[in-house]
């Protein structure tokens, strides 16, 4: 308490003697801490942003953050022990006004195993508050700072080992509004990118431990928004309407990687890069450093799903750095027509395959007749299987076994389904002839496609057999062993 009083006194004296100037912004006025109105901070829980300040005078803002070490889903079927501010990743968004006095309380829950602290990049002072908030489990600390610079700032834990505390989820955002606030918009959202260094690979199931070597090599299994693979996908997608103006507060907790933040199908109309006072306009991709943040604003002219990514694009599609903004409303064909043409482009494709595809399309409306199945199955066969098994299913002598009049094929439909799903390697005997080669798994085909192509080969090239249904394929697929975690236990 004595330190706090001394700090407040020092601030008051400083305010009285010289007005703090920051980066060309108007000088801040004097404050008398004792007479400032006291307000409890209204926090924003991602993806919801904290509400705008709507004050034209400084206040003393009290912020309370509780540190919780919790097991949460990192992806479907994957758990991780996150260290969090407030139980979620990212921590809550704090929003104050330039010139405010912020009294920050850090509570370290008694069940936690680790000491923690907080470094807010909005703080002017040693450690950004870290030295004043080093807190054992079951204890609480506090300190006060004056928000001298406007902007959007990351906060994070700075307890050794720092990278691990951040990597485990201890980061969030504090927005310091300029004197006049940010212009009003229709919607505001809050998201933060961060990496997770798990022992197992992306989506490998189970409770995954932290992997120090991956962290040191800056090779995360996950790069995600808001602490989870799929946090802002499908029913959890951000939403807005055509005609609206949307503001995104986007931060990057890191701990290691910088983000090339991009919205697929939109141009960022306004970007306050790094929260700078002067915005930029018409930005395609904006760099958000580790431990940095930006404001990105979109005016929405057309409906559809817009995908937010880190345009270091393998992260988006192989590590989880992908979120969605669903925009509802009327089409505007003068801005975006939608698809006008989609017809066959032959290229190098075989005439047989093309003909089969066209026939399949014609027959699509005819429903599940054998002919329709055969037709679609032929398209799949021509496009994929005929490369090895040849156009007439005759195979290649002693290399690829025939499908035509094949005893192996016709003996066991279940086995055929299994082979298509999982591939086949090693010796087989077909029509008395030994083959020893590798067939790749084709499990990426849908149950319908596999049923169709098997129906086709079982009723072509001199074969005759019962059609295969998608349900049969689905049953075999469901019985396949689930992928097991590899590597260390």
């Amino acid at each position: 308490m004595r330190e706090l009083a001394a700090l407040l006194l020092a601030l008051f004296v400083a305010g009285a003697c010289e007005r703090p100037k920051t980066g060309g912004a108007p000088p801040l006025g004097e404050i008398d801490p004792a007479s400032l109105p006291v307000v409890e901070a209204e926090l924003g829980h991602a993806p919801q942003a904290a509400p705008p300040v709507k004050r034209n005078h400084p206040a003393k803002v009290v912020v309370k953050l509780e540190v919780r070490e919790v097991v949460k889903d990192l992806a479907d079927g994957v758990q991780y022990t996150f260290w969090t501010y407030g139980g979620n990743v990212p921590g809550p968004m704090i929003r104050v006004r330039r010139g405010d006095l912020v009294e920050l309380h850090l509570m370290n829950h008694p069940d936690n195993a680790m000491p923690h602290n907080i470094d807010l990049h909005a703080v002017t002072g040693p450690g950004g508050g870290a030295t004043s908030t080093f807190t054992a489990p079951g204890h609480q600390t506090s300190f006060t700072f004056r928000a001298l610079n406007s902007g959007v700032y990351v906060y994070h834990c700075a307890t050794a080992p720092v990278g691990m505390h951040i990597g485990n989820g201890m980061y969030g955002m504090i927005v310091v509004e300029p004197d006049e606030g940010y212009p009003p918009v229709d919607r505001e959202y809050y998201l933060m990118q961060g990496e997770v260094y798990t022992r197992g690979n992306f989506r490998e199931p189970g409770l995954q431990p932290f992997d120090m070597q991956r962290a040191i090599h800056e090779n995360p299994a996950y790069v995600v928004f808001n602490g989870r693979d799929g946090s802002l996908i499908g029913e959890h997608a951000l939403s807005a309407n055509v005609g609206e103006h949307v503001r995104l507060f986007v931060g990057n907790g890191g701990p290691n990687l910088v983000s090339s933040f991009h919205v697929i199908g939109e141009i960022l109309d306004t970007v306050y890069r790094e929260g700078a006072r002067e915005p930029e306009h018409d930005v395609q991709t904006t760099l958000i450093p580790a431990g940095g943040a930006a404001i990105a604003e979109l005016e929405l002219q057309v409906p559809g799903t817009f995908v937010l990514v880190d345009h270091s694009i393998f992260r988006a599609f192989n590590k989880g750095a992908l979120a969605m903004l669903k925009v509802a409303g009327p089409e505007n064909k003068l801005v975006y027509s939608g698809q006008e043409i989609n017809e066959v482009y032959l290229g190098e494709r075989s005439p047989e395959a093309t003909a089969a595809l066209e026939k399949a399309r014609e027959e699509k409306a005819e429903g599940e007749t054998l002919e329709a199945k055969m037709s679609r199955g032929k398209a799949v066969f021509m496009g994929t299987c005929s490369t090895c098994h040849q156009l007439e299913g005759q195979g290649l002598a002693s290399v690829f076994p025939p499908l035509a009049k094949s005893d192996f094929l016709m003996a066991d439909p279940q086995r055929s389904i299994h082979i298509v799903l999982t591939g086949l390697s090693g010796e087989v005997v077909v029509n008395g002839q030994k083959y020893n080669n590798v067939m790749p798994p084709l499990g990426n085909f849908t149950d319908h496609e596999i049923a169709d192509v098997l129906t086709f080969v079982r009723n072509s090239f001199g074969n005759q057999g019962a059609p295969i249904s998608p349900e049969e394929v689905a049953a075999v697929r469901a019985a396949l062993p689930k992928p097991q975690p590899s590597g260390h236990p």
Partner: protein, 248 residues
């Protein structure tokens, strides 16, 4: 030895079978966070409890010394969390099984307990030496590091019973995998409150400890950070202790 003494010893043994102690050969300990020119600290051979002190054992101590019950202990010596998971002054209750390590104990309390048994808390050098046998191979060290990190990363809402982990080369259990432990010179662990600079800038720089012996040893960082965050009257959920004594 007189018959009376024999009887007393037998009674004591029946009341609380003493925890085994394991001999740890002496050696030298290079502080994890070494000042410039700091030399390894010689460590004399010593004995260390093979596992942490349990609730049942601590209850015996408190029975014999009511001044250490939670209602009587001065706040200076143990904060308000002291034994807060027990049901009463002399009742363990459902939150504290007899065989679990005792936690929510302060450094003062741990020190008093050990002294009562003619022992003492291990020093940092002793604890770290016992926990990091110097003749381990690099592979064994790396594997241990992985195991410890995995343990530190797991949630620990319910403590296992004491003595549950496999013994190390000295026969000592639970140095990792169960709880944090008090050491005699806990305040010698100098991970600064902000490890990236500030008052101890000569020890740490730019987010990585340039003075740390093994900057990749995250588990050790965590242990030292933990020790740095506590004060001697703190009583914490995951913090217990074991005793040591110099080898005869």
């Amino acid at each position: 030895m007189s018959a009376a003494a024999l009887t007393l010893a037998a009674l004591l043994a029946a009341a609380a079978p003493a925890v085994g102690m394991k001999r740890v050969p002496g050696g030298s300990y290079t502080p994890f966070i070494a000042m410039k020119d700091e030399r390894p600290i010689p460590v004399a051979p010593f004995e260390l409890d093979e596992r942490p002190v349990t609730n049942a054992e601590y209850l015996e101590f408190v029975r014999a010394h009511p001044e250490w019950t939670r209602s009587k202990v001065p706040r200076l010596l143990a904060d308000e969390s002291y034994l807060s998971h027990w049901a009463g002054d002399l009742v363990l209750g459902s939150e504290a099984a007899p065989e679990q390590p005792v936690t929510f104990v302060s450094w003062f309390a741990a020190t008093a307990y050990c002294r009562e048994l003619g022992k003492r808390l291990p020093s940092e050098a002793e604890w770290e030496l016992a926990a990091n046998p110097p003749d381990e191979s690099a592979e064994a060290k790396a594997e241990a590091e992985r195991r410890i990190l995995a343990f530190y990363a797991r949630p620990r809402s319910v403590l296992p019973r004491a003595g549950v982990t496999p013994p190390n080369v000295y026969g000592v259990r639970d140095l990792y995998g169960v709880i944090w432990e008090w050491i005699a010179d806990w305040n010698a662990s100098v991970v600064p409150m902000d490890p990236r600079g500030g008052a101890s800038a000569q020890e740490f720089c730019g987010g990585a400890a340039i003075a740390a012996r093994e900057p990749e040893s995250y588990a050790t960082f965590m242990r030292f950070a933990f020790r740095s965050s506590v004060e001697q009257h703190f009583a914490l959920h995951h913090l217990g202790f074991r005793c040591a004594r110099s080898a005869p």
